[in-house]
Amino acid sequence: MNTLFDKIWDKHVVQIVEDGPTQLYIDRLYCHEVTSPQAFAGMRERGLKCFRPDQIVCMPDHNTPTHDQDKPIEDPVSRHQVDTLAKNTADFGLTHFGMMNPKNGIIHVVGPERGLSLPGMTIVCGDSHTSTHGAMGAVAFGIGTSEVEMVMASQCILQSKPKSMRISVNGQLKKGVTAKDVALYIMSKMSTSGATGYFVEYSGSAVKSLTMEGRLTLSNLTIEMGARGGFIAPDEVTFEYLKGREYAPKGAEWDKAVEYWKTLKSGDDAVFDKDITFDAADIEPMVTYGTNPGMGMGISQHIPTLDTIDAAGQISYKKSLDYMGFQPGDSLLGKKVDYVFCGSCTNGRIEDFRAFASIVKGKKKAEGVTCWLVPGSWMVDEQIRKEGLDKIFEEAGFALRQPGCSACLAMNDDKIPAGKLSVSTSNRNFEGRQGPGARTVLASPLVAAAAAVTGVITDPRTMM
């Protein structure tokens, strides 16, 4: 009761259906090319127009190649899906940041950086990582395509109200520990279903100390523990980040907005259905060893042995380690790495490339490692160049690619071959996620950079 989640949710309730879900008003709908075509087709079949077209923003990101974006996409199926989004947005009169538009990028990177995602909003997209936008102090969550169609048709969605959970991380983060490590640590404690049915508010001094980029990373990964979404109450960090952004309010509107945003916090008497606390001092740089993001451990630790796994889960656990080519009890330190990927909606922001550069500066890319550095948007790309990070990468033997989802999910050309080990800053290590048979170790940009220059999994703290 009286949580920030309650405040935002309750304000957006249009009605509560008898013995059923809540009809919730949605402030912002984002659409990408993968989960929207069937929704647009449904709208056409029903002869409907979008109810509030001004509140919908669309862009392709999953299928976009990360090179030669000025040329037509080679894969005809990918090209068709991207072209379909362009046609649909034109037909329905929606805002569209197409490929090569300077505003294009991964939808969850672009929304916050353009000031389209604001505190207090309800935000949805046909994509589970919509939880990212929660970092702005918004209630943001992923939905299915039928639900995308609902929002197009009515700017509303039918949902049961989730329970509330507060996760506090207190204390100071240690050297080499980033928001990604905090998230992977929380997941390793919560499992991939530990927060199912809940909406999470992140709190505590370690969370408040994160930059906006770090908060976006943390909120992004909330879905990986099953939660609907996660958010952080807006504060000066949020306001400072948003001020002057293209679509953020301006002038008197800005002052009025900030005044309202300052009220967006859980009451001192707020009661959460679940309240969990972690100590920042317990967190070290993290790596995953299995095939779901909850299978993570500190980089200095060893893979859990079979006797620590409950009986019902042992078949899945063995299958998972077999897939990865690891043994129970193994350390990951020193394992040979074939691919390194820095990018995605999890770690494709400016701060992530600064972190990567801080490790590789003055060193050389390891022989035999293929490395993909993929900015989350053209805006991130521009900032990288402005700060001269591209020069550092170039001197160390790395090349920047063009923005998109890239190797996060094997829908474009950037696929990891079968059996190869990839250290990836993305969000999912599921079987086949980065390509059929690909083996994924999730980690922070610091761990990824250390692997890229040493050719093996390396503790970045030894290089700082």
Binding site: G20, Y25, T35, Q38, F51, E147, R228, M411, G432
Partner: protein, 198 residues
Amino acid sequence: MKQKFDIITSTCVPLPLENVDTDQIIPARFLKATDKNGFGDNLFRDWRYDKEGNPIKSFVLNDPTYGGCILVAGKNFGSGSSREHAAWAIAGYGFRVVISSFFADIHKNNELNNFVLPVVVSEQFLAELFDSINKNPKMEVKVDLPNQTVTNLATGKSEKFEINGYKKYCLMNALDDIDFLLENKDKIEAWEKKQQNA
């Protein structure tokens, strides 16, 4: 996809794995279609076919011992991506019911929106069900939506399952949420007006 749901009695397809994510149900490279058809052919693609596209005999969907329109899966079914393509693949393959002890949130909604019924049972009921199927692959399960019960016909054991009254009505009458929302436009406009005046 819209079809009325009432009582279903069928043999089952067992998948006793936990944390089956939507990338396994339908890998991302098959998400490039712009309609809802054909996803059933690629359901569990990388467990079902090898690199050359030949069926992997040991996988349950390729084993003629098992069949029916009820999928029985380990806990936390459908985690990960929100892709509704996973629900289209399950429905497209011909499943009408998925039984598990735990479902991921978004996927559960996606199943319901495609007239596939997710039935949550206790861990014990699930373990016994896997055991019954193991002993006799031809055993049947009865799923009774009007009474919200699921029965293991091999043991006769039955459990109640939860579904809200609204969604139950939708499934039994083949109505979807958009039909409902379109009837409520006046309430939406009233909500918007209230915000503008605040």
